[in-house]
């Protein structure tokens, strides 16, 4: 696969690893937060950490829209499908996420709810067209990468005069999440994040401009990194260089896709259909202002929150769950009492274990063998 395989080349990886070993100053440590779940996945799947010197480590951030969605929103989706009898269309990622009382979309489907997995919101539109007597609701999640398709689909639905289609909107914003993490870090002083690897595909839409504020205000380098392991390594090298030189600017490693302005057409379409919520609850981060989007009044017919009289009820995470600290990069999965004991991918308690991109899930799937054996594993 072109532009994929080349960026997974082992020889080039060894070259970059050498360069990093050469340039990383042995007298200090480099803590690089990869904001994006896709980067977490790449690091673990390819074992990128194995190629880094001991003083370079990755801190796994909250860039996983599945992980940061509060239980209350999933309960809301369940209520739509179970009590209002809608056909709920969802991306595969959400199907097994546990909501309140150990329910999930998949379990609801087993109990007879009409829940369908789709690859694209366009598939949900198709279902709506083919079933005019059924109410079809699309469970929209994701950062700025996944938001433009939702905007396009809502416009299409309006243009076609579709009467049975609506969207349950849970789109969230990256810069706000970055602010929340950095803000907390400044207050608590408990985490040292020296630099950020910026998300690949969010940036293809929003451009590199929005990160300039962070690099400037918090005086930390931000290097936008591509999705493949060589991208992650090259971006890490660029971050190390900035730190060594005392610079803190936004650099773009993913130049083959990301530009300073991003995809203006997509941004315009999104702005036409969606607007900022004043505040939104993030699992692990609490209420974050200006961090999420909702559907504009002009498209209210397609807003599932307005169409069906369902409200999101507040919900609470398990007591010993360390997800909030893990999402902020303050703790590692292994620091959590529940990790590997009560909380496993089979029985996820907190948001970090729920999605395969979550820090805990990635650590479990790819990184577990590094641990000394625990009494539970021997059992």
């Amino acid at each position: 696969m072109k532009y994929v395989d080349e960026f997974r080349d082992r020889q080039l990886a060894e070259g970059l690893a050498k360069a990093i070993r050469h340039e990383a100053n042995t007298r200090r440590s480099y803590n690089v937060m990869e904001f994006c779940g896709g980067h977490t996945h790449a690091i673990f799947r390819y074992g990128v950490q194995d190629l880094m010197p001991k003083n370079v480590s990755y801190v796994h951030g909250p860039g996983c829209p599945v992980c940061v969605l509060p239980i209350g929103r999933i309960d809301h989706a369940l209520e739509l499908s179970e009590q209002h009898g809608v056909t709920l269309c969802s991306y595969g990622d959400m199907l097994r996420v546990p909501a309140s009382k150990r329910r999930s979309l998949l379990k609801a489907k087993a109990d007879g709810a009409d829940i369908r997995m789709v690859y694209s919101i366009d598939d949900a539109l198709k279902i709506a067209r083919q079933n005019p007597s059924r109410e079809v609701v699309f469970f929209a999640i994701g950062f700025e990468t996944t938001t433009p398709p939702t905007a396009v689909a809502i416009r299409k639905a309006q243009a076609e005069g579709l009467k049975n289609f609506s969207v349950f909107c849970n789109h969230v914003l990256t810069p706000a999440a970055l602010k929340a993490i950095l803000g907390n870090a400044e207050e608590s002083g408990s985490v040292s994040i020296d630099a950020f690897l910026g998300p690949s595909h969010v940036s293809s839409v929003i451009g590199s401009k929005p990160y300039e504020y962070f690099a400037d205000k918090y005086k930390r380098p931000v290097v936008i990194a591509g999705f493949e392991p060589l991208d992650v390594m090259q971006a890490t090298l660029m971050a190390i260089r900035q730190l060594n030189e005392g610079r803190h600017v936004v650099e773009n490693q993913y130049v083959r896709v990301v530009t300073r302005d991003g995809n203006v057409k997509a941004q315009t379409l999104v702005a036409e259909v969606l607007e900022l919520r004043s505040s939104f609850e993030w699992r692990g981060l609490g209420e974050v202002p200006s961090s999420a989007l909702r559907i504009r009044e002009a498209y209210a017919d397609f807003d599932a929150e307005k169409r069906f009289g369902v409200t999101t009820k507040p919900s609470r995470d398990a007591k010993s769950c360390e997800c909030p600290s893990i999402l902020r990069g303050e703790k590692k999965p292994t620091d959590c009492k529940l990790f590997g004991t009560v909380c496993t991918p089979d029985n996820p308690i907190g948001s970090c274990m729920v999605s395969s991109e979550g820090a805990c899930a990635a650590y479990w799937t790819y990184g577990r063998f590094r641990q000394p054996s625990s009494p539970l594993e021997a059992a």
Binding site: R8, P65, R96, Y119, D123, G142, S356, F369, A378
Partner: protein
């Protein structure tokens, strides 16, 4: 034309029709359906007797018996259908004991309203698979459930076979130091089926690898009678199968990603959907575990067979109290190949 033939001719004509409750009643409608559709395709001396059971002699030796329920959707997919899959699947389960499959049985649960033309296609396919494999379906059953209570058709097949002298193949026999082999490219069946699923469709040349493996197994056992383990990685893929064996044998495994054969279509489709090809179903492949010293000979025997052309040695068994299956990635790092709880789901994140 006799009265009876005329009656059958009429039944033939209703192949344009659908399954009705009356077809499962046990009365003449059932007999006509069985004779006209099932026996027409599957026909052999046993079925022709028209009894509720088949009687036969088998040679001396250890008997192997297996059963499978087939509940797949879609019923028809590139490279096969539920009929051929049922035959191949059960023959393979028998073969994985190193046994020679002898006979099959097939029980059908049909949903009221299921098109008879589709049933005809499925049974014809089943018959073809059975004939090509040389393993006849000697007895069967047909029931009908009300509309809405079945997914078109469910098929349960049972198979028996004979294990040759000196062959002891079992999932608990893997030993540290053993070599792990696979018979060919992985993930073909699962991706072929996925490509036809609504809401996920993509275009690919991949067809299911559904096949009867008893011929390949016979060659393998002839070359290396002391094979320790054989299993076909169906639902759950190689990742699940190796974890099962690791648990049964209380051993660990180390695989080399670059040694595992995958078709480019399967790799690309998995990338697109965010799936790990190690957990995608196969219906015409097997994994074998044997002593290191025998691996070369076993590999040669596999590659000499049409169903083992792409066979490869992909790893080794190691001592490990945790029974972890691990893999060295193409990139040089290490990762776990976990035992998944359920089916992998496509993802967008």
């Amino acid at each position: 034309m006799t009265v009876i033939e005329a009656r059958f001719a009429k039944a033939d004509a209703c192949l344009g029709g659908a399954v009705e409750m009356i077809h499962g009643s046990g009365g003449r409608a059932t007999a006509e359906l069985v004779r006209n559709l099932f026996h027409r395709h599957l026909g052999n001396a046993f079925l022709a007797q028209g009894n509720d059971q088949a009687a036969f002699d088998i040679g001396a030796g250890r008997l192997v018996m297996t059963t499978d329920a087939h509940v797949i959707a879609p019923l028809f997919f590139p490279g096969g259908d539920i009929g051929s899959l049922a035959v191949h699947g059960t023959i393979n389960d028998v073969a994985m004991a190193g046994a020679r499959p002898l006979y099959l049985s097939a029980a059908f649960v049909l949903e009221e309203g299921f098109p008879l033309a589709d049933l005809d296609r499925i049974v014809a396919s089943m018959a073809r698979a059975s004939r090509e494999a040389g393993v006849p379906v000697v007895t069967g059953d047909t029931k009908v459930v009300e509309k809405g209570k079945g997914d078109g058709v469910f098929i349960t097949t049972t198979g028996i076979g004979l294990v040759p002298e000196g062959v002891h193949i079992s999932g608990d026999r893997a030993c540290p130091g053993d070599a792990i082999l696979v018979s060919g490219t992985l993930g073909d069946h699962g991706i072929a089926v996925l490509s036809k699923r609504e809401n996920l469709s993509f275009e690919t040349e991949i067809v299911s690898d559904s096949a009867a493996l008893h011929g390949l197994v016979a060659d393998m056992v002839a070359a290396v009678p002391t094979i320790h383990c054989l299993r076909d990685p169906t639902r759950g893929g190689l990742g699940s199968t190796l974890n099962e064996i690791a648990q049964q044998s209380r051993v660990g495994m180390r695989l080399a990603e670059s040694a595992i054969p995958f078709k480019p279509d399967v790799v690309a489709a998995c990338e697109l959907l965010g799936l790990d090809p190690l957990y995608i179903a196969n219906e015409g492949k097997l994994t074998a575990i044997c002593e290191k010293g025998d691996a070369g000979r076993l590999l040669a025997a596999m590659r000499a067979h049409p169903l083992g052309r792409d066979a490869a040695i992909i790893g080794e068994v190691v001592a490990d109290v945790h029974a972890f299956v691990q893999m060295q990635t193409r990139f040089g790092g290490n990762r776990m190949v976990d035992w998944l709880l359920g089916d992998p789901l496509p993802r967008i994140c």
